[in-house]
Symmetry: D2
Subunit: 308 residues, 4 copies
């Protein structure tokens, strides 16, 4: 005997409707804008309640339920929301973007059309220095005078390469081949559609301080300007339980417990045993695992229990 269902209206989120279609500028000539969406915080709750039955219906418990789902990685209800973006982004950042496979994509075709005549140009003050510690990162900026030189050189190179591209096209070279030497900084455009669970995964990786600067600019706008308006309860829970969480391994918990129980000897023995305290020439050998633990202790204002 099945229940009666009433006619439904589509779920609407007013705060998102207000920015529908509006482009947020990113980098020198990129943008991102929401084209359409489906679902809301309430859709997540609704989907979870199909699974969990109907015992927990009160509206005031929605926030608690969403936080519970997020904390315990019950991810399927978040897949019930979907969003579609229109973006313009340098091909180099797009190369990273497209590595997120669980999404739907239609990209501007430079086989079919003339390549977008715009490239991502770097300002004199924005040339980043290679990071010493992080082989795949950057830190700080080059001297602006050197930067000015590099920016000028870049602009000139962009001009030359574009001219070569144009000339090829004019001579009748197929577009699919003429484009072969376009710089990675050339802008492309795409429609990109993804469910909320996978979008949050994208944001966790791409809002991270280790993500490359360029894609991080897009991710921050998606997170702070768009997702925050679309599903505010989910956004809060995501920040609390995903973005800003510190994880301790079983070993780290054990060392911490011994430190807090005034048992530094046991703590040291555990670290020693894990190979964290090997020395060379009287100094601790570099150990990423130890260093990461030390950083966690710092967050707790705790002294490192060994000599550094």
């Amino acid at each position: 005997m099945q229940e009666e269902f009433e006619k439904l209206e589509r779920v609407r989120v007013e705060a998102l409707d207000e920015i529908l279609g509006k482009p947020f500028k990113v980098l020198n000539d990129g943008f991102i804008r929401v084209v359409d969406y489906m679902g809301s915080d309430q859709s997540i709750v609704q989907a979870a309640r199909v699974s969990y039955g109907k015992g927990t219906k009160q509206v005031r418990q929605d926030r608690g339920l969403i936080r519970y789902l997020m904390r315990h990685k019950h991810t399927t209800p978040f897949e019930m929301c979907e969003i579609k973006f229109h973006i313009r982004v340098p091909m180099d950042a797009w190369r990273q973007w497209i590595r997120h496979r669980t999404a739907n994509v239609n990209e501007y075709s430079t086989r079919y059309s003339i390549a977008i005549d715009s490239a991502y140009e770097t300002e004199p003050s924005m040339w980043r220095k290679q990071s010493k510690d992080n082989k795949q990162g950057s830190e700080g900026f080059l001297d602006e005078r050197i930067g000015a030189e590099l920016s000028k050189q870049e602009k000139e190179m962009h001009r030359i390469v574009r001219e070569i591209y144009q000339k090829r096209v004019e001579l009748g070279v197929a577009r699919e081949q003429a484009r072969k030497d376009l710089p990675l900084s050339t802008y492309t455009e795409a429609y990109w559609k993804i469910d909320l669970h996978n979008l949050l995964h994208f944001l966790r990786l791409r809002m991270d301080s280790h993500a490359q600067y360029e894609i991080r600019q897009y991710a921050q706008i998606i997170g702070n300007e768009i997702v925050s308006k679309w599903v505010p309860l989910t956004w809060e829970a995501f920040n609390d339980f995903q973005l800003n969480t510190t994880g301790f391994s079983a070993l780290e918990m054990e060392i911490l417990k011994n430190m807090l129980s005034d048992n530094p000897v046991a703590a040291l023995a555990l670290a020693e045993n894990a190979g964290w305290l090997r020395k060379k020439d009287g100094k601790l050998v570099k150990s990423l695992e130890r260093i990461e633990f030390e950083q966690k202790l710092q967050k707790l204002n705790l002294q490192v229990p060994w000599e550094e």
Copy 2:
């Protein structure tokens, strides 16, 4: 230099809005209803035009473009539409349904809640006979007097099994264990969300005459009652170029060409060479490939060029 964008309204499809939330009855106690959706025929066109540039803008070409995409299996623009269903379906059919992996699912949990007290019961006239030709199919129906016996027996069995389930729950057995002997005919419910490309793939398989009767009932409603209203141009193209297409292999084309060029000898030689004409005891040995070709000839009103 980027263009100006205007504010967008969400894409709406009036004919689909009218049935939003309305349950279509399926089987004795199942249903399917649309909960929400995103996109329309126009969204497909819009996504395709990001790829193909802006040369082909006229509205009257939308149909042609959608048909072109469908014919040539340019599938990504169809992924730009998304739909969410609420369904009630016997677990047995759900087992087939869930094999379509590219979808989002939240199912009613019989760990968390008491199992739905409803099972799919078969009418006396609806007991299907095992197909002789198709080891995984059925054809025709059992005599209704035998069917009446089977239906009565089923009803009684359902009652007994449900009582055992209830008794277990009352004795305090965990729901996750009490359910272990529920019949596959027990109804379950789920939210199911999928993009249009993958939905069409589901429909191609599940509307097919070889699909099991039960899931076919759901698929036919999704196709004929829902997708047809949601994206009418896509639905038409899907029927023309996917559902009702006949494929000829290179060999079949070659045989056909020779038949139509009054060259039956060459046609026979090709069939012979493919091993289609092997005989045993003076009769053609069964060959699925030959039989399938004969069926295609029949559609063209053509005589089979060999003795059957």
Copy 3:
């Protein structure tokens, strides 16, 4: 100018080769066995080094690299390993299993063949009680005398239902329909193929104490008997950094820091502000977030800073 490559041998893992094809028994009549595999710990390292370049080649750093990848959720190198299982499992557990979508599956077809004549039977001592705290869990066991009654009843029911199934088949009912009332406890078989990253995800969910007992038995064998032999470095890292990790949210870190800095007032204020300390009738209102934090404090042997 490209480097010279030597001929390759396929990667072999001797410890896994030794158990190839060997069925591990699970439940009363289930099993799981490895049919084939591809890759090893070294394949993960090799794939990571394509990404990271060639600066870090020494063999003794393999363990460190794998641990780094695992700790920082660089998951793609783990996708470079693949394994294929043959399993026999009750349909009820299979329903949960199949929800992991990123895998390849071929299941025994009860449309094509007679259903496997074996069901998962519960021993008198193994009827689990419904958990009070966890609506979707169990804890402890029913009295064995009651259990004996339930087991006897189950056996009898299985016999009856199987007889009905057999009778239907004998009367000529199509197998696809005859099976409709088989109990969920009926065994099915399948080939299941999955990459290591997704397998670890499966294990994280299904080896967890909240996973249902039945599927947990399979997961434990996969983890402890198979993955541990196949990729021992990965298995160690997975245990250290995934299975046994405790996460603290930003708020929890802040409260903890204040507790450890002898600033209980600030710690209490934070908890108060988070709504953790609301009282009703003089007792703290139930708050899952507070309770989970208290459990983490317990692991560190720390006193809860508020009156419970």
Copy 4:
């Protein structure tokens, strides 16, 4: 009561083992080589037989079964085989390659390491002309004297851009930023792992004459040199039933039937009704659907039944 299983050996394919690790050269400085694999034609048969039961065991039926699966798009057994490649490919072709989402990828990181110092250079005779009919294709070649000019210009441009890249790196610019203007023709490397079903899908699209020349070179080697050795029965079936199949829509079948039944009037009426015979200035208006049908008739050596 379960059967006894014997110990298994891993499936080996000798013809593939012989080329394991061997690089096939592609373009001027690219390659593709097989690193590892899992499964064979027999694994496909084995997986299918789990589904279909054990009635069809004879070895001589393997070919028939694989052909049946391929013809009727029963794709899951083909997912039971997996292969891993190491490739070096221009970024431009890689951009297309990576759009195939159901695969595992580890790419050379130009954040972590200096970009590969090699670009895809075009020979004077290999500059392709833009296709007139196919907006996203090419046909024929430019005059070689013009080509020589373009090739010289390209070489010079590659040199300049590389120098700028090197200079940035020397000045301390982060590698992740220094690379931003590398041409799309720069080579990258990757491990690419995929199951056979999805690989065949890749080949169907990328061996097609409409695929871009560059990626087609890779696809042809994968198909003709690798898959053909790995799974010869599957490769044969794929060629017969996927690569070289001609599909006729219901309308086309109906027109064809009428043509072959000496009923040209009915054939014309159907075409007219489909809008294929609209004229402008006394000439048939361009209709892709009609043109594609005419091409199919040509394959059958049949006259078009209307005036062109």
